[in-house]
Symmetry: C2
Subunit: 558 residues, 2 copies
Amino acid sequence: MAPLTLVIVGGNAAGMKAASRARRLNPDCRIMVFEQKAYVSYGACGLPYFTSGVVKERQDLVVRSPQYFKSVGNIDVHTGHKVIRLNPSDRTITVKNLQTEKEQTVFFDNLILTTGVTPVIPPLPNINLHRIFTVKTLEDGEAIRQYIRGEGCKEAVIVGAGLIGLEMAENLHRAGLKVSVVELLPQVLPPFSPEIAFSVEKHLREKGVEVFPGERVKGFEGDEKQGVKRVVTEQRELKADLVILSIGVRPNIELAKVANITLGPTGAIQVNERMETSMSSIFAAGDCAETKSLLTGKPVWVPLGSIANKQGRVAGENAAGGIATFRGVLPSIITKVFDLTIAKTGLNEQEAIKAGFAVERSIVLPFDKAHYYPGAKPLLLKMIADRMTRRILGGEILGEAGVDKRADALAAAIYNDVTCEDLSQLDVAYSPPYSPAMDALITGANVLLNKFSGIYTAISADELKQKIDRGGPFLLLDVRTAEEYQAGHIPGALHIPLDKLRERSLELKGKATGALVVYCGQSLRSYQASRILKELGLGEAINLEGGIRMWRWEKEKA
Amino acid sequence: MAPLTLVIVGGNAAGMKAASRARRLNPDCRIMVFEQKAYVSYGACGLPYFTSGVVKERQDLVVRSPQYFKSVGNIDVHTGHKVIRLNPSDRTITVKNLQTEKEQTVFFDNLILTTGVTPVIPPLPNINLHRIFTVKTLEDGEAIRQYIRGEGCKEAVIVGAGLIGLEMAENLHRAGLKVSVVELLPQVLPPFSPEIAFSVEKHLREKGVEVFPGERVKGFEGDEKQGVKRVVTEQRELKADLVILSIGVRPNIELAKVANITLGPTGAIQVNERMETSMSSIFAAGDCAETKSLLTGKPVWVPLGSIANKQGRVAGENAAGGIATFRGVLPSIITKVFDLTIAKTGLNEQEAIKAGFAVERSIVLPFDKAHYYPGAKPLLLKMIADRMTRRILGGEILGEAGVDKRADALAAAIYNDVTCEDLSQLDVAYSPPYSPAMDALITGANVLLNKFSGIYTAISADELKQKIDRGGPFLLLDVRTAEEYQAGHIPGALHIPLDKLRERSLELKGKATGALVVYCGQSLRSYQASRILKELGLGEAINLEGGIRMWRWEKEKA
């Protein structure tokens, strides 16, 4: 029998991982990879850091060369080769050498499509001006890097405040540019809850980056020779020597579509758990393929390098004659924005509600280390759970350190269907330099359990704002210290510090018509206050979840 | 009906957590805590950092005062009160006020024993000399801190190289002392595998701490007035102005024992999942109580603050009339030793073998961040799994950064009975500043899967050392670069760099009588080499797991 011929279309994360895996399982098969660009196997996620010089050399990003794959893996990598046609019926592809323009037909036994994504370019006036960049390829990164190091590049506008947009904001700012970020949606980092996104916006502004959420870009101005000069939004004009377009990507599905391979509801290539497409012997993996949400069971499209690598490995194994499956994703994401780390795993509150879950939430602000250990800083952790099953559905975490740790531990827990009960007893490793004795995740799970058992009642900052704006009859109680209260409190709040609450509780009698809402800095003291009030027969007080830290509106000074 | 009276013996982590939880669930009950010492609720795990001044103030460690518990929780905390007798038949305890020496009898409906531990003091000659300290109470910490800040304290000897011993080594070194560590067992950090412990010993020596594993202390020398002067071991005499005894702790079970409460096989108080002892209405929690290993199902005794807090919460809930259970522990531990973090979760290889598992292991050395991101450093991850069920049984991690993150993610996974397959697809959050695209845990799980499926065969450094010492017929192949080989290789190794292996493979034919063992720096290139050798028909090469990094013996220079 002739050895199997495996052809892979696309030489990035998923493609090269598939090739390597296939070789390891099958020493005899023939493996060919076709890649349009000049490089394979480079760290595309590092591009923002490469533009600013945080990652110093191009070579740092290029993991392995075609020569390496040949000498070590006996894998034939053809860069500068574009696959222009896929012919499933005769199991061939048509490949064009982009240098010689020559076309050839290549036979395959098994094919893996790892065609990746293309940045979305909106059809706006003057979108084709020079110095409007996307951040996708090594060539993009090099062009941006070279340009910002030159004379005259002083101001940058970033259109789109997703992960790449904000990573570029940090890196361009670091490179000495004045940076503005324009986002169509009402907040930065659209996958995150508004209260998390608000903290990020605040941090960006503190660092000197201008942020314009909820603002539509109408077009660009400039001249053909010098390129872009201004970004015009519905609200303003922003001077721009450089524009980064980071409004999203779309899967490269043209080859698949023309070959009648089924696309999924997300628009990416539909695959099963073995990464098989609808067409026999043809697999797809990485950013061009769909996957499944482990929380909703529905198809999702999540173009991320971490997922691409895992899918590539599974596709490579199956295409080489093995058996492997890819279960799906939560997904988990993380990004660094200056001094903050922001991570999310699973669903956010809105996504979970949309998916039909009865959602309970907790917002806690525990320290990342033992409170007495030098450098301890508060985290902001929002978790959601399903009221019916008590299963944890997702979490968002923001802070200066230890965010990635909680995100991954939570991801590992959710990946294994953890309930609030189990998370509350998670046996994580404790020592003062690394966490408090009760870790953030445990605190968050305990709050959820307290809510389920009815000993903790809470209101979100948004709900409280609405309540105040409606002007209904209720009493708002601030139980922080006098200094904290004087520095700024929620308008209309009465002040009784927690340690005086027992003796001064009579002041509340009579005043408390309607609900009693109590708050503090982070909702720890308010929780204790609510227990005291209950003990004293003053009823079930409602806690402002996350405390005044979550109050995004005006404060009143004493 | 009269309100419930809950009495708690011991005012540290478990005790105060139990009191607070009971109060939250039961606003009406009477809660009394008796504590011998002057403080309650302090961060005992922070003591090593307090001695050196890393934690600046005593007040930083004292979380809450008795007054706080009274005013906020209506909890009566009696410090300086020792419970000298427990009388289950009439539901009373006898309490002695240590200042007035007066005794009183206190009735309880429910009782929680959180009596904690006492450091082990070995019956050695002159053990009672001044300046031989244990590190248990705030008073210990203050005495050490005061003494090392004074004149004439220049050399310290630490007896016992467990977590506290090594934390003290770092902190005393930081305080300017010359530090030696003596350990009876053949390695430091006894809960860890020898190869992990070896790296810690090396690091300690690099930092200027002398380490003497496998050395028995015979006694101490000094004089009554000035205190200890020398530590005498079977091998040497060590000058000592200060001795830290950290050879372990034992549970305080005297009260329970006299009251005929059942002790478990570990010697600590036996409890069920609700933290109930054998005696009705009497609970135990924290360091004095046993718990269950989630991996073996057997009783274990793990005196750690993180576990004490969780158990205290469960005991408090149950003793207040609620229903809560504590499932058990992995356990997870972590410690900082100078620039290294070392963590463990679940079982180590020896523990798993002893518990009857068929153990498979992986040792990998992946980067903590994307390899190109500034500051990326290799981790050392050893994982073990059960060959029968493929369940992950435990992991040990060592490195400069990101160790706590992998430990907690792995803990969350093991806590939920994860298999190698699932761990290999764990959807952890990826971005270059936080991890490689394939995280360490995924790499480790993939190596285990490769071993299960027979495409990766490995030998540990210990096994290779034995093989070499036996002198059996086998060929040892180093596939690193010429520079790496010349800088030091395993005695007798043949050198062919990986990228020349295909063309020079003929050199191996004929030479390879018996087994072929191949190694590189970290076992990544050797893995690729073994695939090439197989492809070329040279049979199944055996990889040195973890590469030359794991070779603890003499190297040969070219």
